[in-house]
């Protein structure tokens, strides 16, 4: 079973960023069936890592594996959009390797 390895880059520990983390965890519990490893990176605390990983803005969810992809998640109110992106990337992988 695929385990999704993800990094979420946020700007500090504000109510908004905490809400985004909670939303993404809820999402992953369903979309990844709980098979995920999510690391949260606070860019204000760890800008070097964000720089190294080529992050240009927050909040961004980086799917490290399978198949690296970055998704800006500033508007989780458009949940379908986010789900579509995540699933599309996963589907592309299956199409490519399946």
């Amino acid at each position: 079973m695929t385990t999704y390895e993800l990094k979420l880059y946020v700007a500090g520990r504000t109510p908004k960023s905490v809400g985004i983390v909670e939303d993404i965890i809820r999402f992953l519990e369903v979309a990844a069936d709980g098979n995920y490893d999510l690391k949260v990176v606070d860019v204000t605390e760890n800008p070097q890592l964000a720089e190294k990983d080529g992050i240009l803005a927050t909040p961004v969810l980086e799917k490290v594996s399978p198949e690296s992809a970055k998704i800006i998640v500033s508007d989780l109110s458009d949940r379908e959009r986010f789900l579509s992106t995540f699933r599309q990337k996963a589907q592309q992988k299956e199409d490519n390797y399946g």
């Binding site: 500090g12 240009l56 803005a57 500033s74």
Partner: protein
């Protein structure tokens, strides 16, 4: 009516860069050369997105953010700064005050400005192929 973006930066080259990058997107681009001017504009117009420079003479980005948030808690504000600890330290004050903001790395190229703006403003179909965020 198209969406409106305000760019607050004391550097004319940066303001012009945003304006030129976004001129063909259909968005209305407004600019302000100082925090004071930006606050004034926000008080009289409802923008959909604000790009705000952190380091400015006079009222800096954090104080500008603080003033804007007094009257507008919803508009997305992207603070424009280098990803260096010395700059980001200043943002911790804003965090402690629970002021809502996001970060955009400086410098940023024209294509990245367009892509990010479309993503932020929900023009997903046009920007979804881009992955360099």
């Amino acid at each position: 009516m198209g969406k409106s973006i305000l760019v607050i930066d004391d550097e004319e080259a940066v303001r012009r860069s945003f304006a030129l990058s976004l001129k063909d997107t259909g968005y209305t681009i407004d600019t302000a050369a100082s925090g004071e001017a930006g606050i004034k504009k926000v008080s009289s117009f409802e923008y959909d997105l604000i790009f705000l420079d952190l380091k400015m003479p006079g009222i800096n980005g954090v104080e500008t953010l603080r003033q804007i948030r007094k009257t507008n808690k919803k508009v997305p504000i992207y603070i424009f700064t280098a990803f260096q600890q010395e700059f980001l330290e200043e943002l911790k004050i804003a965090q402690e005050e629970m002021l809502s903001f996001e970060i955009l790395k400086k410098p940023v190229g024209a294509e990245q400005i367009v892509m990010l703006t479309k993503l932020i403003l929900g023009q997903f179909e046009e920007a979804k192929e881009a992955s360099h965020v």
